[in-house]
């Protein structure tokens, strides 16, 4: 089955949820107009990503972000994946939602929290496979994709992988000088989705943030006047080379080949899954 997938690369301003959501809405519409059936927004696209307190920005499925995305998904017949901060009780999660045109909301919680994230969020415990009309979709968030275990959990259980990220360059944006410890990690955001697509034999849609940021390296106390690395990509499994974005705001839009397997090999869901209303 050939479908068109869109990786929406955008910059988000910290804590300006309404503005970010409106900007994302315009980009989603562009993707829809170009024929996208699945669109992916970056990690924490609505709140912005930065060392901050997200307690007042945590949402549930009924929150403003997912309510709006669910409405758009239904209206435009498009599956939408989007990173947001989930709040459940007094816990906060760095989460990725997948909303379906049928009204379903499936939420994956990032399992591998890095840097300051660990002091702000609770790690998720399980992978999430979402059964959809396009096949089984596996979700991951940013640093998740650097761990072998994450992809081992999805091997032979998914037909499409979606990764939302706020992955920085780990390099000084003024001089281009890479950080001595983390500088080689930045370029991996452009490499890993393609490697996973070939390895697992499934398409990978990777949407990253772009724009300026400031990375604090914990324990070492150093700060990098950084930028998000962008380079979002759509990789068509073993069918061809990845289509990649540059470092600015952009939509990567390309057909992918999904081979839905018969039957659903179940994989425990991480958190809530709201049935169609």
């Amino acid at each position: 089955m050939k479908i068109v997938a869109a990786a929406i690369q955008m910059s988000s301003e910290l804590h300006r949820v309404a503005d970010n959501l409106q900007r994302a809405d315009q980009l989603l519409k562009r993707a829809r107009d170009a024929g996208a059936e699945i669109a992916v927004l970056p990690e924490m696209f609505n709140t912005g990503y930065g060392k901050s307190d997200y307690a007042l920005f945590g949402e549930q499925a009924e929150g403003p972000t997912l309510t709006h995305l669910r409405q758009r998904s239904r209206q435009w017949g498009m599956g939408i994946a989007a990173g947001f901060v989930e709040r459940e009780g007094h816990h906060l999660y760095d989460a990725l939602a997948f909303v379906t045109p049928e009204g379903g909301v499936h939420v994956y919680r990032k399992r591998n929290l890095v840097f300051w994230e660990r002091s702000r969020f609770r790690p998720g415990r399980q992978p999430l496979v979402v059964p959809t009309r396009w096949g089984r979709i596996g979700l991951a968030v940013c640093a998740d994709m650097i761990y072998r275990r994450v992809w081992a959990d999805y091997r032979d259980r998914i037909d499409l992988a979606i990764v939302a990220a706020a992955w920085p360059d780990f390099a000084d944006r003024h001089t281009g000088r890479k950080h001595w410890l983390l500088g080689h990690v930045g370029p991996l955001s452009a490499e890993i989705p393609g490697l996973v697509a070939k390895d697992l034999g499934v398409p990978v849609v990777f949407a990253n943030q772009c724009g300026e940021t400031r990375t604090t390296v914990p324990l070492l106390g150093s700060q990098i006047p950084d930028r998000f690395s962008g380079r979002s990509s759509v990789c068509d499994g073993r069918h061809g080379p990845p289509v990649c974005a540059g470092t600015g705001e952009e939509i990567v839009l390309t057909p992918i080949t999904v081979h839905p397997q018969r039957g659903l090999k179940s994989c425990r869901t991480t958190s809530l899954s709201v049935p169609a209303a």
């Binding site: 007042l56 920005f57 549930q60 403003p64 660990r118 609770r122 490697l195």
Partner: protein
């Protein structure tokens, strides 16, 4: 936890740092979540975006 791509000797430093951050950050998170549990946090206000662009 093994990495999907080899990170060389720096990978060992990262692994150790991540473990340390997991312990220290987990403690900070636990304290913050207890504070949240003792308070009443408002939920985000609805956002209105035009239905048709």
């Amino acid at each position: 936890m093994p990495y999907y791509v080899p990170l060389g000797p720096r990978g060992l430093i990262l692994r150790f740092g991540t473990m340390l951050i997991g312990v220290l950050g987990g403690f900070v998170y636990w304290r913050a979540s207890r504070r949240r549990a003792a308070s009443v946090l408002p939920w985000p206000e609805p956002i209105v975006i035009p239905t048709e662009l």
